[in-house]
Symmetry: C2
Subunit: 155 residues, 2 copies
């Protein structure tokens, strides 16, 4: 089933090669999350992962590249399931902070460690290569966060 297109890939620019690897890994993760059968939709998993600490819903909307109403319903589902609670932001009482419960933190751990496992299984990299990849991935992520999730190319 899987094609050997490695020769084709080698002809592409490094940037495109990089993106294709990223793609493959991301899809593999999505597949793995389905297989986990943990009762969460993809969007819900993503929100769990993004909630490494309490965040305002608007911030999450920006982080997750979606609109406020989607955040509302995703948060509803996770609250219903007992993974998070809404707490008024003391700094601005219009806003809610989404805060993971203990159960939520636990589930987040499961998701994260699944992601880590997946990387180990899927990548086939040794420890040194993994460390190097992680270093670059961290740098990339920092750059993206700095650049600003929106960076709005119009829209």
């Amino acid at each position: 089933m899987p094609h050997d297109d490695s020769a084709l890939v080698r002809c592409l620019s490094p940037e495109v090669q990089a993106m294709m690897g990223v793609y493959a890994l991301y899809w593999k993760l999505e597949e793995s999350l389905d297989a986990l059968e943990v009762g969460l939709s993809h969007q819900e998993c993503h929100m769990m992962v993004k909630l490494e600490r309490p965040k305002r819903m608007g911030v999450l909307a920006a982080d997750m590249l979606t609109v406020p109403s989607t955040i509302t319903s995703t948060a509803d589902a996770l609250e219903e399931a007992g993974y998070l609670t809404r707490q008024r932001d003391p700094e601005d009482r219009r806003a809610w902070l989404l805060v993971l419960t203990d159960k939520g933190l636990e589930m987040r751990q499961v998701l994260m460690s699944e992601a880590g496992d997946l990387f180990r299984r899927a990548s086939g990299l040794d420890a040194d290569e993994t460390a190097e990849f992680a270093r670059l991935a961290r740098k990339i992520r920092e750059n993206i966060m700095k650049t600003g999730i929106p960076e709005g190319l119009k829209k």
Copy 2:
């Protein structure tokens, strides 16, 4: 808007750091595809990218982690728009090969080069780092392709 959680990320395992970078890049790419306003849905873009050469629809379904009926409607849209044609697979006349048209190849080029551009803009890596990241990404992708897209963790 973007948080400085780089200190938090540093505490995680290299594998998880890697996955988080991958996530960030993938999301950024999705955002960028929207901004392209090229008249294609995400699924349609993905199919274009996967069609580096003619493929049977069933193979695409496996590649794209989806069901045959979704492939049918995505292919319908792309055929309608003139990006691909269906051709009977001579080896098995039940099956169709999806083949990009010239217009489709051109669009694929646009999408790929956009992905490359995006990587350059988003990652902030210099040429050496990009080359190294690309090398590892290629290795990862080859491993995933070899392992087999399904590798079915049940389901």
